[in-house]
C-alpha cells in the first residue's frame, strides 16, 4: 500500500511535464532557484540550451509557458540530485527527440552543420591565397 502510494507519487513527478495542465500550480522549482549558486549556474546553463516546445524560438529559461516551468523544475531537481547536465540532456532527447536540444549533436543528419563552416573557412583561405599570390 505504502510502496504503491510512493510509486504513484514518483510516477506523477516524472509525468509532470506531459500531464501538466494550465490550471495546476507551477512546479516548485519552476520559479525558484537552487540554493547552491554553483548548482544553479549549472542548471541555468543547461536550461538555456533546451527548447521550450510550446514557444516560438525560446529556451525554457526564457519562457512563461507552463511546460517550460515544469521542465525547469525537472532540470533543477535532477541537478540538485547530482545528475550531470549531459545525462539530463540525453534523457530529455530520448523523451522529446533531438528537437528539444538547441545544441545539435553530430550525427548522420546534422553533420553538414559542422562540415560546411570548415569548408567555408578553407574556401575563404584559398580565395585569399589565390588573390594575393597573383598580386605579389
Amino acid at each position: 500500500m505504502r510502496t504503491g502510494f510512493l510509486f504513484v507519487l514518483i510516477a506523477a513527478m516524472f509525468a509532470a511535464p506531459v500531464a501538466a495542465q494550465d490550471r495546476m500550480p507551477p512546479a516548485p522549482y519552476a520559479y525558484r532557484q537552487l540554493d547552491d549558486p554553483a548548482l544553479e549556474a549549472k542548471a541555468q546553463a543547461l536550461m538555456e540550451t533546451i527548447r521550450c516546445l510550446k514557444c516560438q524560438s525560446q529556451s525554457i529559461a526564457d519562457s512563461d509557458a507552463q511546460m517550460a516551468g515544469d521542465m525547469r523544475h525537472e532540470i533543477r531537481t535532477r541537478i540538485a540530485a547530482g545528475e550531470s547536465p549531459g545525462h539530463i540532456r540525453k534523457w530529455l532527447i530520448d523523451r522529446y527527440g533531438n528537437y528539444v536540444s538547441y545544441k545539435p549533436e553530430v550525427n548522420s543528419v546534422t553533420w553538414p552543420l559542422f562540415v560546411i563552416p570548415l569548408v567555408l573557412l578553407v574556401v575563404g583561405l584559398l580565395l585569399m591565397r589565390h588573390r594575393f599570390r597573383k598580386s605579389a
Binding site: 527548447r51 528537437y99 545544441k103 546534422t110 553538414p112 567555408l120 594575393f132 598580386s135
Partner: protein
C-alpha cells in the same frame, strides 16, 4: 470610397511600372525615343501613387473603418490612435504595401536626381527596378490586397496583438523595410551595371549611398527589435537566434560586406566582381528574409501570415529574382576585368579579410537558419540554437576584429606593418591587460573573456586613425568609420558583460519583503491593480537601492488585454550607466506571495548604445558622401558654365 481610391492608385502604379520596364528595355536596345522618355517620369509618378495608396490605408485605420477586412481583423476602436496608425503596417498586407511604397519612392528618387552614370546604365537600372517592383505589385494585388472589403460589417475589430502595441515594435518593421528596399535599389544598380558592362568606380559611388542608407536602417531596425524582445518578452534575453531575427541579420551582414567592398571599388577600382557578387547576395538575403517572415514557414510572433498560397508566391518571386540575378552574374562575371591589384598588407587586403569573414558568418547563419527547415521537410526535426551559432560565428567574428585593429590604419595598395606598429601594439596591449585582468579576477567563460578583451582593443584602435590628423579638417566619412568601429567595440563589450556577469534572482515575495540581487536591494512595497486604455493590470510597486543608496521606484506589471484577450508581462527597468535592473512580476502563488523575477545586467544597455553608434557612424559617412557628391556636381556645373562662356 477611400479604400477603393487606394486600390485604384495601386493598380495605376503597377501599370506604370510595366510601362517603365518596356521603356527601359527599349532604351537599352536603342529603341524609340518616345518610349525611353517615359521611363523617369513613370518612376516618379509611381512614387506619388503608391504614397497616396498608403495614406488611404492609414486613413481607414485611423478612422477604424471596419468595412475594410484588414482593419476589422487587426484593429479595434478602443486603441490609442498612435497604435491604430502603426497597426496599418503591423500586419502582413499593410507591411507589404509599405514595402512597395518605399520601393517606389526610392525608384522615383533615383529617376529624379541620379544623372552621373551613362544614360544606358541608368535606364537598365530603372528597368531592373521596375521588374522587381512588378513582382511585388502582383503579390500585393493578387494575394495580399490590403483594401479588401468585408460584408457584413462587424461591430468591433479583432484588435492588435498586444506585444505589438509598442513604440519599438511600431518603428522596427519600417526600419527593416527601408533597409531591405535600399538593398533592392543597390541590386538594380548592379543589374544595370552588369547588363551594360559598366562596373566602374562611378557605379560604386552611385550605389554607395543606397547601401549606406539601407545599412543604417537595418542597423537601427535590428537594434530596436532586439531591445523590444529584451523588455517585452520578460526574461531579459535580447537575441535568440530566432529565424526571424536571423532574417534581419543576414541582409545586414551582406550589406556590411558590400559597404566595405564598394568603398574599395570606388576608391581604388579593385574588387569589381566581388562587389557585384555581394550586391546580388545582399538583395537575395533581403528576399530570403522576406520569404522567411512573410510566408508563414516559421511559427513565430512575426509570421502573421500562415498561408501557403502566399508562401508559394514569394518563393516564386525569390526564384525568379535570385535565379535571374545569379544567371546574369554567371553570364557576365567573366567579362568584368579584374581591376587594380594590391598586396595582402594593404587597406584593400584588410577589407578582403573583412569581406571573407562576413561572408562566412553569413553562410553560417544561413545554414543554421535553413537547415532545420530542410530536415523538417524530410521528417526529421532538429533545433539549431545559441550553443551552435555563438561559438561557430565567433570563430570568424573574433579574428575579423583582430584585423579591424590594424586595417583602417593601413594605406591603399601596399603598406608595411612597421608603419602602423605603434598603434597596433598599443591596442593589443590594452586588450591583453583586460584579458588577464578580468581573467584573473573571475572565472568567466572563454568567449565572454575574449569578447571583453577584443572590445577594449578595438575601442582603442578605433580612434587610432585620428592620430596625427587635424580633427577639424578630417572628412566626415572618416569620422563615420571611427564612430561605427567604436560602436562595434561598445556593443561587443555589452554582449560579453551581459552573458558573463548577469545576476538572476527568482523569489516569492509578499509586501514588505526585500530581495538582494547583485548590488541592489529591492523591496516589494505593495501590489496594486491598475487600468490602462485597453488593459487592466496587477502592478508590483517596488523600491530599489543600489549599494544602499537612494531608493528608486519601479513598477513591473502583469497586464491583461481584452482585445484580443491576452496576458503579457510588462517588465520594469532601472537604468544606470553601468547596467540595468530588470524586474518582472509573475503570478500569485497559493500562499499569497508573488513571484518576482529580478536581474542585474551589468553594461547590458551598451549593446544598443553600440548599435546606435554604429548607425550614427553610417549616417556621418552618408552625409559626408552626399555633400561631397553635391559639391562635385556644383563644381562641374560651374566649370561647364565657364567653359560655355569662353566658347561664346
Amino acid at each position: 470610397m477611400i479604400a477603393e481610391f487606394g486600390l485604384a492608385a495601386l493598380w495605376l502604379a503597377a501599370a506604370l511600372a510595366l510601362l517603365q520596364l518596356f521603356g527601359a528595355f527599349a532604351g537599352v536596345r536603342g529603341g524609340s525615343a518616345d518610349l525611353v522618355a517615359v521611363v523617369r517620369p513613370a518612376a516618379v509618378v509611381q512614387a506619388a501613387l503608391t504614397g497616396l495608396a498608403f495614406l488611404m490605408l492609414i486613413w481607414v485605420f485611423a478612422r477604424t473603418d471596419l468595412s475594410v477586412l484588414l482593419v476589422a481583423s487587426n484593429s479595434h476602436s478602443e486603441k490609442p490612435l498612435i497604435f491604430k496608425i502603426s497597426g496599418a503596417w503591423s500586419n502582413h498586407e499593410g507591411s507589404m504595401l509599405m514595402w512597395v511604397v518605399i520601393m517606389a519612392v526610392s525608384g522615383g528618387l533615383i529617376a529624379l536626381i541620379e544623372r552621373r552614370l551613362p544614360e544606358k546604365t541608368m535606364l537598365a537600372t530603372l528597368g531592373a527596378q521596375a521588374f522587381v517592383s512588378l513582382g511585388f505589385y502582383a503579390f500585393l494585388l493578387f494575394s495580399s490586397n490590403p483594401f479588401e472589403r468585408l460584408s457584413p460589417v462587424p461591430v468591433e475589430g479583432a484588435g492588435l496583438n498586444p506585444l505589438l502595441q509598442d513604440t519599438a515594435a511600431a518603428v522596427h518593421p519600417p526600419g527593416l523595410y527601408l533597409g531591405y528596399v535600399g538593398l533592392s535599389v543597390a541590386f538594380s544598380f548592379v543589374v544595370g551595371a552588369l547588363l551594360t558592362r559598366n562596373v566602374t568606380p562611378d557605379f560604386a559611388r552611385v550605389m554607395r549611398p543606397w547601401v549606406l542608407g539601407a545599412w543604417i536602417f537595418l542597423t537601427l531596425g535590428i537594434t530596436a527589435g532586439s531591445y523590444w524582445a529584451y523588455y517585452e518578452l520578460g526574461w531579459g534575453g535580447w537575441w535568440f537566434w530566432d529565424p526571424v531575427e536571423n532574417a534581419s541579420l543576414m541582409p545586414w551582414l551582406a550589406a556590411t560586406a558590400l559597404l566595405h567592398s564598394a568603398s574599395v571599388l570606388a576608391a581604388r577600382d579593385a574588387l569589381r566582381t566581388w562587389t557585384v557578387m555581394l550586391g546580388v547576395v545582399a538583395f537575395s538575403m533581403s528576399m530570403i528574409g522576406t520569404f522567411l517572415v512573410r510566408s508563414g514557414i516559421l511559427t513565430s510572433v512575426h509570421a502573421f501570415a500562415v498561408d501557403p498560397e502566399r508562401g508559394n508566391f514569394i518563393l516564386a518571386l525569390l526564384a525568379i529574382y535570385i535565379g535571374g540575378a545569379l544567371a546574369l552574374f554567371a553570364a557576365r562575371a567573366s567579362t568584368i576585368a579584374e581591376g587594380e591589384r594590391f598586396a595582402l598588407m594593404s587597406r584593400e587586403g584588410a577589407l578582403v579579410v573583412n569581406n571573407v569573414a562576413l561572408s562566412a558568418i553569413l553562410g553560417i547563419v544561413l545554414l543554421g537558419t535553413l537547415y532545420p527547415l530542410l530536415t523538417e521537410a524530410f521528417g526529421v526535426r532538429v533545433s539549431v540554437g545559441p550553443p551552435y551559432f555563438n561559438p561557430v560565428s565567433a570563430s570568424f567574428f573574433l579574428p575579423m576584429l583582430l584585423v579591424l585593429i590594424a586595417g583602417p590604419l593601413l594605406r591603399w595598395r601596399r603598406d608595411s606593418f612597421a608603419r602602423v606598429q605603434r598603434s597596433v601594439v598599443l591596442a593589443v596591449s590594452v586588450g591583453l591587460v583586460v584579458l588577464f585582468g578580468v581573467g584573473v579576477l573571475a572565472g568567466l567563460g572563454i568567449l565572454p573573456l575574449l569578447g571583453m578583451a577584443l572590445a577594449a582593443a578595438v575601442a582603442v584602435a578605433a580612434f587610432a586613425p585620428l592620430r596625427g590628423r587635424s580633427l577639424r579638417r578630417l572628412p566626415l566619412p572618416v569620422w563615420g568609420m571611427v564612430i561605427a568601429h567604436f560602436g562595434i567595440a561598445v556593443s561587443l563589450f555589452g554582449v560579453a558583460c551581459d552573458s558573463a556577469l548577469t545576476v538572476e534572482k527568482l523569489a516569492a515575495a509578499k509586501a514588505g519583503d526585500t530581495i538582494a540581487v547583485g548590488p541592489w536591494q529591492v523591496t516589494l512595497d505593495s501590489i496594486e491593480p491598475v487600468a490602462g486604455p485597453n488593459w487592466t493590470a496587477i502592478e508590483g510597486r517596488m523600491t530599489a537601492r543600489y549599494d544602499g543608496g537612494e531608493g528608486r521606484e519601479l513598477a513591473p506589471q502583469a497586464r491583461s488585454f481584452w482585445a484580443p484577450p491576452q496576458e503579457t508581462t510588462e517588465s520594469a527597468l532601472l537604468t544606470r550607466w553601468n547596467g540595468q535592473l530588470y524586474a518582472v512580476l509573475g503570478k500569485e502563488a497559493a500562499d499569497g506571495r508573488w513571484q518576482v523575477r529580478l536581474w542585474w545586467k551589468p553594461f547590458v544597455t551598451w549593446i544598443w548604445f553600440g548599435g546606435i553608434l554604429i548607425a550614427l557612424g553610417g549616417l556621418l559617412s552618408l552625409l559626408g558622401r552626399v555633400t561631397g557628391d553635391l559639391r562635385l556636381r556644383e563644381r562641374r556645373r560651374l566649370i561647364a558654365q565657364r567653359h560655355g562662356e569662353a566658347v561664346s
